[in-house]
Amino acid sequence: MHAARNIALCTKDCVCLFVCPTGATDTENGQIDFSKCLSGCRLCVDACPSHAIYLVSSNYPKPQKKETEVKDSLFDLAASKVKQESMAKALASESDDPVFRQLCKSVAMSNHIMAEDCYREAGYILPQSDAVRSLLKDLLAKEEGKADFPADAVRKLLEKL
């Protein structure tokens, strides 16, 4: 568990520089140096007067079980949203009217976000979960060797998650 800074809240009080035992808060990029941060130390979190520092978990609890019928109905809805996204993209690409394209682009974006949210609630909210691991393994088994499939990226994800 390491500390992280929300730049939007930080008012440069710099108390974190004063309390940090390792200098992890003293960086040029405004973020905390995670490699120097002591797990669970949280001195900076408690000291920050603007509540701009928080702890990022490294071990999340197991996600709650998703019932198959719930998952199925969310996957069905997501499929419909993805179809609408593709339809809106097709309508945009077949039109040369910038206003109509703007409308279609917005509809496509909106549907993409709704599809993502369906997957999130269908059991894919945390990347470090069994559901995601088994999805990645499955994709690797099926797509390995196909042109342009980023197999190395999938292997790296399986290693890191």
């Binding site: 809106a88 040369d96 206003v99 949210d117 609630e121 990347p127």
Partner: protein
């Protein structure tokens, strides 16, 4: 026909378009945890599936409206019933947002049919990055009326010529 992949324990089949949305969801989840390398890797995977997205060439405006109407008439009802039965708070939350956003999308598309470009001329279009709420107007609302996220998460969509 759509190219489909059988995926995961219950062997659900997913299209490339569906996998693109799945992967951008996981990309965002990694970014939230400040895991920028993992986020970038999911981004690569999402781009691969986006490239292979099943095209809906030749579909009409009415086809799009029909699909939204289908969701509103049956998709949300079905999903709400099972989420309710299983007391799945998270799913019920997503369904409430999604149904509201879909109703507003439908009304936007119906209004556009009547008013054509005059609906969007001289004003802006915004999309909430969190729930997908589409807003037409000068300035985005201070908080999203659907999911209540502050306006810095509500993005303007530009008018672009080809």
């Amino acid at each position: 026909m759509l190219r489909r992949l059988r995926v995961e324990d219950d062997m659900r089949e997913m299209t490339h378009g569906e996998l693109a949305a799945m992967c951008t969801n996981l990309q965002k989840a990694c970014s939230k945890q400040l895991r920028s390398e993992e986020a970038q890797l999911f981004g690569l995977l999402a781009a691969f599936y986006e490239e292979g997205r099943e095209k809906q060439e030749g579909c009409g405006y009415q086809d799009l409206l029909d699909t939204i109407n289908e969701d509103l008439a049956s998709g949300y009802q079905r999903a709400n019933a099972v989420a309710c039965k299983n007391q799945d708070r998270g799913s019920l939350r997503a369904l409430v947002w999604g149904e509201k956003v879909s109703k507003l999308l439908k009304s936007l598309l119906v209004r556009y049919e009547k008013q054509k470009n005059s609906l969007l001329d001289g004003t802006n279009v915004y999309v909430c990055e969190i729930c997908g709420f589409v807003y037409v107007g000068e300035q985005p609302p201070a908080i999203c009326p659907i999911c209540k996220v502050p306006s810095f998460k509500i993005q303007a969509v530009q008018k672009e010529a080809i």
